[in-house]
């Protein structure tokens, strides 16, 4: 530790350097680093590291707070139950389907929005604000607002459909329509975040590249596919990782729009975890479900990391 303080740029104090409180206020570089990082480390230990260990442990336990029976080791019992549980399969499938629909959906809509927002508007704030508002809106608010949009009697969606001469749809009575409404809402809510990230990427592409392509006679489509898209790739990959991981955790929007209904046809894995934990107080089973979700999101991270590395 003495060597660390010698290499630091801190000027040495001549007077009272030996007093303990001075040393505490002006410690060696390494001690200081430990002190500064300690609060973050402690918090992460309490809220992430310890809970992860506890999660895996609890998933092998028979732990239901309603039964009053003390926790006992149950081996793979929870996981075996899960395989025979049709609701587990349904909610997992719904989660995967939501991810497969809304992530590419948000990417395409977001890309289109970013390209549109990149035009040279004279006043920039209305467009910037229109991209920020959907991002800042709580997911649960978006769910409630769109539930009102899709209201079968008084919703604006059915109103527009009727004005266009179609029949109104009773969105939340049918599994498929309810699912479609949820996916549309998620895409609306998340595409503006995609657009912001992609827009930032677009603005780093030097204009000169396009001018050079123009000289070489490359058309706009070719410029888009050979300059814009490849240079946007890093921004898109980052946005996709975050979006996919949050899509796997989808809870707020289906909860506020349908509560998982009709039946459990629009319930997600996160909703099933919540139900088992908070409503049924079956912590063992809830943990086993969470381990599955954890594994799913680890797979996503791994796939993306490999993609980044493979294509450099």
């Amino acid at each position: 530790m003495a060597t660390a303080s010698e290499t630091s740029v801190v000027p040495t104090h001549n007077e009272s350097a030996t007093k303990w409180w001075t040393r505490f206020l002006d410690p060696s570089e390494r001690t200081l680093a430990v002190l500064l990082l300690a609060p973050a480390a402690l918090l992460l230990a309490l809220i992430i590291v310890y809970p992860v260990c506890r999660l895996v442990w609890t998933s092998f336990q028979n732990l239901s707070l309603t039964s009053g029976v003390p926790a006992e080791f149950a081996g793979l019992e929870n996981y075996r139950l899960m395989l025979d549980d049709p609701v587990f399969w349904e909610t997992t499938w719904n989660t995967v389907l939501i991810t497969l629909i809304t992530v590419p959906g948000a990417l395409f809509v977001g890309l289109a929005m970013a390209l549109m927002a990149n035009l040279p508007f004279k006043t920039k704030w209305p467009v910037r604000l229109s991209l920020l508002i959907p991002w800042a809106l709580p997911l649960s608010f978006a769910g409630l607002i769109f539930a009102w949009f899709f209201h079968s009697e008084y919703g604006v969606v059915n109103d527009v459909l009727r004005r266009l001469g179609f029949e109104g749809v009773i969105w939340f009575n049918s599994a498929n329509w309810a699912f479609a409404a949820i996916c549309l809402t998620i895409i609306w809510k998340t595409s503006s975040f995609m657009a912001l990230i992609i827009l930032a990427g677009l603005q780093t592409i030097p204009r000169s590249l396009y001018e050079a392509a123009e000289v070489d006679g490359a058309g706009r489509m070719r410029q888009f596919f050979e300059i814009t898209l490849p240079l946007l790739k890093p921004a898109i990959v980052v946005a996709l990782i975050f979006r996919t991981i949050t899509a796997l955790q989808t809870f707020d929007i289906p909860f506020t729009m349908t509560r998982g209904g009709p039946g459990t046809s629009t319930a997600t894995l996160a909703m099933y975890i919540h139900q088992n934990t908070v409503d049924f107080l079956d912590l063992g089973y809830g943990s086993a479900l969470a381990v599955v979700m954890f594994a799913l999101s680890m797979c996503v991270t791994a796939v993306y990391l490999r993609m980044i590395r493979a294509k450099g």
């Binding site: 740029v9 206020l25 002006d26 570089e29 390494r30 200081l32 500064l36 990082l37 918090l43 992460l44 809220i47 992430i48 809970p51 992860v52 506890r54 999660l55 609890t58 809509v109 390209l115 549109m116 927002a117 035009l119 040279p120 910037r128 604000l129 508002i133 991002w135 800042a136 809106l137 709580p138 649960s140 608010f141 978006a142 409630l144 607002i145 009102w148 209201h151 009697e153 008084y154 604006v156 004005r163 975040f193 912001l196 827009l199 396009y210 410029q223 975050f242 979006r243 991981i245 955790q249 809870f251 707020d252 909860f255 919540h274 934990t277 908070v278 809830g286 969470a290 954890f294 999101s297």
Partner: protein, 283 residues
């Protein structure tokens, strides 16, 4: 969506087309919030009229009065506000310290710690619902603000730390050194020189942390079952009408909940954009 929209500025730069494109973006972004505002200003009779009206014919604030009297909306607002402010303060304090260590001190494990921070930012907090529920229960923290403040702090810690590291790295070391020659301790120099000079970064990080906390739903729903401790999103979602879902009241409550974040976004829009696009982000 226009498949041919190019990134360079010659095409589509004709003013009417550009206005149209701008209008599409503005309508897409603003319409839902505007629609809920219109809804909140309509009378119950107008809301259930067919065909539905778009603009309110006889604007009324009755729904707002009911929103505050039917349910403890003010209390929900207060809970949300306190949880968001306190977790933002805690996040900023912890991430200022950590970011300073990462930006300024010679750390052998620096890269490892940075990767760990990025890993935490992609961590699915939902999966920890059960163990966090157990921990909060064991610590007797269920139905308190603290049960939410601690996880929310973790939620925003990675982004805030990354933003602050990049800001701190841009502050010349000389300024800090001269403060220390003037008798400041290193910690003193951090809070008297580095943090004030990084004010834009601290602000950006703070806004992101605030919005993250303001928006969170699942943990707030799970940990605080006491209606008096509900945050705004939970309180509004669990509003119970006498028969159907009380849309007039809900829409007014939603507007009340949107306003604080909207004000923040309007004032600090450029900061927020730079913060969102610089560090790792949560969607």
């Amino acid at each position: 969506m226009n498949a041919e929209a190019p990134t360079q500025h010659s095409f589509l730069s004709g003013t009417p087309l550009r206005i149209l494109v701008g209008l599409i973006l503005v309508v897409n972004g603003m319409f839902p919030a505007l629609w809920i505002l219109f809804t909140s200003l309509k009378t119950e009779a107008e809301l259930t009229a067919k065909p539905i009206t778009w603009l309110p014919h006889a604007p009324t604030i009755a729904n707002y009065l009911r929103a505050f009297t039917d349910q403890p909306l003010l209390l929900f607002l207060f809970n949300s506000f306190m949880v968001a402010i306190l977790s933002t303060a805690l996040t900023l304090f912890i991430s200022v310290l950590a970011a300073y260590a990462l930006a300024r001190l010679q750390l052998r494990a620096r890269d490892l710690i940075l990767s760990a921070i990025i890993a935490v930012s992609t961590f699915p907090l939902v999966t920890l619902l059960v163990p966090l529920f157990e921990i909060m229960r064991a610590l007797n923290l269920l139905n308190t603000w603290v049960a939410l403040i601690l996880p929310y702090t973790v939620l925003s810690l990675p982004v805030c730390t990354l933003i602050l590291v990049s800001f701190f790295e841009g502050i010349p070391r000389d300024l800090e050194n001269s403060a220390m020659i003037d008798g400041c301790t290193r910690i003193g120099a951090l809070f008297k020189v580095v943090v004030p000079l990084s004010a834009p970064g601290v602000f950006t990080a703070g806004i992101l942390a605030f919005v993250n906390a303001w928006d969170e739903f699942l943990l707030a729903l799970s940990f605080n079952s006491n209606p008096m401790l509900r945050t705004l999103p939970v309180g509004i979602t669990l509003y119970q009408g006498e028969f159907a879902f009380p849309w007039p009241v809900i829409s007014a409550a939603l507007v009340v909940g949107i306003v604080p974040v909207a004000v923040l976004i309007v004032i600090f829009q450029e900061r927020v954009v730079s913060g969102l696009t610089s560090g790792g982000i949560k969607g």
